[in-house]
Structure formats: structure tokens, C-alpha cells
């Protein structure tokens, strides 16, 4: 069992946050679509993690534990606000190529991600950013492996539509699946 006492945070917890939280922040930015919400989400989940800290077994995979909280909390937040905010259907035109810097490009891709249905977005982030196997993504999201593959396929197709012109998503899908269109 881990433990914490006194007013300051447990040193082991601090070390974990220092070492790993920024990586989870990046994944959270992909899940939520913007850095402010991502920061709020990660801090919320870190507080939850800290509350559970004394009861955690030392063998627990803290990254997996926190990732599950991030996915679940983001899902509950999304459900709570989906009536107020409709996802954007299209991504605004980019600025001219010359003025396009890395930040603009990152924001454009995040906005495209935000336009995806939450489940598709989560599947893409978990599979391709967190590099989780299909079975683990399915377990995290509470669906079947087949559903994960379907969401992956549809998510990539939609992302390509949204980022048409970005030339960043491979064009091989048409070659492989063109007969279905």
C-alpha cells in the first residue's frame, strides 16, 4: 500500500506526475481537442488518482490507471455538454502555406479530431497515439474488438475528409476500399 501524510503531496506521486503527466496531457489534448480542457481533464484525474493513491497497490500500472480515468472522465464530460455544443462539421480553411506554422497545423488537426464522434476520436488516439492493441482499446471503451476496428476505419476516413488538402493522411484507403464507395 502507498501512503501519504501531512500537507504536501506524496513524493512518489509528485515524481509520477513530474515524469508522466505531460505525456498524458498530450493524449488528453487529442481527446478533448484543446489544451485548456486537456489541462483541466488531466488535473481532475490526477486529483482522483491522488485520492485513490493510499489504496493503490505498488504493482498497479499507474499509466494505465490514469489513462482509464482520462477516457472515462472525458466521456462523462462529453455526455454532459453534447447538447450545448455541436461538433463542427468542417475545418476552417488553413492560412496560406507560407504562414502555416507547426502550431496552426497542430490546431487544425485537433479541430478535425474534435469534429469526429467521440468514440471514433478516442479509438484513434488510443490506437495510434497511445499505441494500445485493439483488445485493450475495446476493454477501455467497453465495446467489442470489431467495433474498435470499425471506428478506426470510419475515423480515418472522416479525418481524411476533414483534412482534405493537408495531404497528411495516406491515400491508400481508396485503393483498398474503393469498391465499397
Amino acid at each position: 500500500m502507498r501512503g501519504w501524510k501531512g500537507e504536501d503531496l506524496d513524493a512518489e506521486f509528485v515524481a509520477f506526475v513530474d515524469r508522466r503527466a505531460r505525456q498524458h496531457l498530450r493524449a488528453a489534448a487529442l481527446l478533448t481537442g484543446d489544451w485548456h480542457t486537456a489541462e483541466d481533464l488531466v488535473q481532475t484525474c490526477l486529483v482522483k488518482l491522488y485520492r485513490a493513491w493510499p489504496r493503490l497497490d505498488p504493482g498497479v500500472d499507474l499509466d494505465a490507471y490514469l489513462r482509464r480515468m482520462l477516457v472515462n472522465t472525458n466521456r462523462s464530460w462529453w455526455r454532459a455538454r453534447w447538447r450545448r455544443e455541436a461538433p463542427v462539421a468542417t475545418v476552417p480553411d488553413r492560412a496560406g502555406e507560407d504562414g502555416q506554422d507547426a502550431h496552426d497545423r497542430a490546431a487544425t488537426v485537433r479541430q478535425a479530431l474534435r469534429a469526429l464522434p467521440a468514440r471514433q476520436r478516442a479509438v484513434l488516439v488510443l490506437r495510434f497515439y497511445e499505441d494500445l492493441p485493439v483488445a485493450e482499446v475495446a476493454d477501455l471503451l467497453g465495446c467489442s474488438a470489431g467495433a474498435v476496428k470499425t471506428h478506426t476505419h470510419r475515423g480515418i476516413r472522416r479525418l481524411r475528409q476533414l483534412l482534405a488538402g493537408e495531404a497528411a493522411v495516406g491515400s491508400s484507403e481508396e485503393e483498398h476500399h474503393g469498391s465499397r464507395h
Binding site: R22, L30, E39, L46, L163, E173
Partner: protein, 295 residues
């Protein structure tokens, strides 16, 4: 119907996601936010009645029981390298830089140089020294100051000042920047590393007081450049920081840059040169202030 994503799509989406997560704002204080929230919770808790505290604990246990973690997934190699580049760029460090370029026919001989540098990203300062040549490059705030060789100094001007950006492609094309400027700016090389592609893990590696993993990567160098390819390897330690970065410009051997990072947390005061010794680089390059050549 086969829904398996092909490898090319996976690689493209992976690159997109790494790019989309690559502009994380500097200075985000996650731990500070957690401390404030925990402190607020503690204050509220002290006010609450003992019965409510008991209920809260019971709820927490119930929530925790629903959140049993499974799996051991880790970020992709590409995400790990991008994260290491980002993390390294947030701490002070010293770095030894070795730059070598191969022989280019009869006109240009092979060259090799070694530099020592120290950077403090939090204070936006840095200094690169070329031992034996009495030359420096200083980074202070949003400016970079490059010391002129003695033969080029005129009118008391010893330094050229230029606005500085971490964007690797801002001032010069990516390949030219790598060949000409990599030796004097590890910060940009770390920024460039965040866009590394085709990243794959090569295995475990260890150095003095650290252990970690080595990754191979390729760097995108844009279009409209001479046929060339940029590859490299990077060693990332157990704390997720870059320890060694080697970049090769192909054809093989044309340029090789090796950076060895150490002394994380290092701090060294770096100040801008005296104003009367500084000339703006743009005016200098336009010819203003250069010595007149008599024909």
C-alpha cells in the same frame, strides 16, 4: 468486409496525432494545479461533518473499485521520442556537440568541430562555445547573438544579433538549417526531433548513470531540395529525456551531428553582449557596417 487499417494509414494517422499534440504550451503547471485542488478539497473537508467525510470515502472506494486498470500500453515509439524532445527542452542542461562534414571533392576538405553548450529553457538563455576558436553563440530571450571571427570585426562590433525562433524552418530551409546551423543550436534540433517520422525502437542502451532506449528515426526535410535523406538515432533515458542525439545527412557521411546531453538542471548565467558591440545581422548581411573592399 475487412476493416483492418493498413500500415500506411496507421503511420499517417500516427504522424498526424504526434503533430497535433506537439504544440503543448510551455509552462503548464500540472502539479501546481493538482496542489491547489487538493488544498481546496482539504479545506472543504475540514468544514464538512464527519458523517459526510465517511460518505465521501465510501464513494471514493466505490469509484476506485470501478476503475481497476488493465493492460500495460505505452505510447508509440514516435510519441515517446516526441515527448522526450519536448521534455528535454524544458530543463536546463549541458550538451557536447560534435559536428563533422565529409570531403566534397577537391574544393572543400572534411571538417570536424567540437562544441560545448549550456541551455536554460526556463530562462530562455543558452551559450555555445567553440573551444580553440574563441567564438560564442549566445541565446538571450528572443535574440541570438553570434560572435564574429576576429578578422570580420569592425567598428567595435563583435556580435551579430538576430531575432530567434525555435521553428526549425523559419529562417532557412530545413536541410540547409541542419547542415549550417545544427552545431550551434541544440534547441532547434530538439524541436526538429519532435517531427521525427518512421521512429522505431532499437533496444536498450545505457550511459554514465542512466539507462534507457535507443530509437532510430527519419527527419522530414521538405521538398525542392537536392536529393538527400536525414536519419538519426536518439537515446532516451528512464526519465524520458534525450541523452544522445545523432543526426546523419545522406549521402552517407556528408554531415554528422552528435549531441550528448548531461547535467540536467544545470544553470549558468548568460547575458546579452554589451549593446555597443552588437550589430543587427540583417543590416550587416546587407553590407551596412561591412568593411569597404578597395579594388
Amino acid at each position: 468486409m475487412d476493416h483492418d487499417t493498413d500500415r500506411e494509414d496507421a503511420r499517417a494517422v500516427r504522424a498526424l496525432l504526434v503533430a497535433a499534440a506537439g504544440d503543448d504550451p510551455p509552462g503548464t503547471d500540472l502539479l501546481g494545479g493538482v496542489r491547489r485542488r487538493v488544498a481546496r478539497r482539504r479545506v472543504r473537508r475540514r468544514v464538512l461533518a464527519a458523517s459526510l467525510a465517511t460518505l465521501s470515502a465510501a464513494t471514493a472506494i466505490a469509484v476506485a473499485s470501478l476503475l481497476v486498470p488493465v493492460g500495460t500500453g505505452t505510447p508509440s515509439a514516435q510519441a515517446r521520442v516526441a515527448a522526450a524532445a519536448g521534455r528535454t527542452a524544458t530543463e536546463g542542461y549541458r550538451v557536447r556537440i560534435e559536428y563533422s562534414s565529409g570531403e566534397k571533392g577537391a574544393t572543400e576538405a572534411a571538417t570536424s568541430s567540437r562544441m560545448e553548450a549550456v541551455f536554460d529553457p526556463a530562462r530562455r538563455t543558452g551559450r555555445v562555445r567553440l573551444p580553440g576558436q574563441d567564438l560564442e553563440v549566445r541565446f538571450v530571450g528572443g535574440m541570438v547573438y553570434r560572435e564574429l571571427p576576429a578578422a570580420l570585426r569592425r567598428d567595435g562590433k563583435r556580435w551579430l544579433a538576430q531575432e530567434y525562433s525555435l521553428d526549425p524552418g523559419r529562417d532557412v530551409p530545413p536541410l540547409a538549417g541542419l547542415i549550417k546551423l545544427a552545431w550551434q543550436d541544440p534547441q532547434r534540433e530538439l524541436a526538429r526531433l519532435r517531427s521525427a517520422a518512421a521512429v522505431r525502437e532499437l533496444g536498450r542502451v545505457a550511459g554514465g548513470g542512466w539507462s534507457g532506449h535507443r530509437y532510430a528515426f527519419e527527419l522530414p526535410i521538405g521538398k525542392n531540395v537536392v536529393p538527400s535523406r536525414v536519419t538519426g538515432t536518439v537515446d532516451v533515458d528512464q526519465a524520458g529525456r534525450v541523452r544522445r542525439l545523432e543526426v546523419l545527412v545522406h549521402p552517407a557521411g556528408s554531415v554528422r551531428v552528435v549531441m550528448e546531453f548531461r547535467d540536467y538542471g544545470a544553470r549558468e548565467t548568460v547575458q546579452a553582449p554589451p549593446a555597443d558591440q552588437v550589430a543587427p545581422a540583417t543590416r550587416w548581411h546587407r553590407g551596412e557596417g561591412k568593411p569597404k573592399v578597395k579594388r
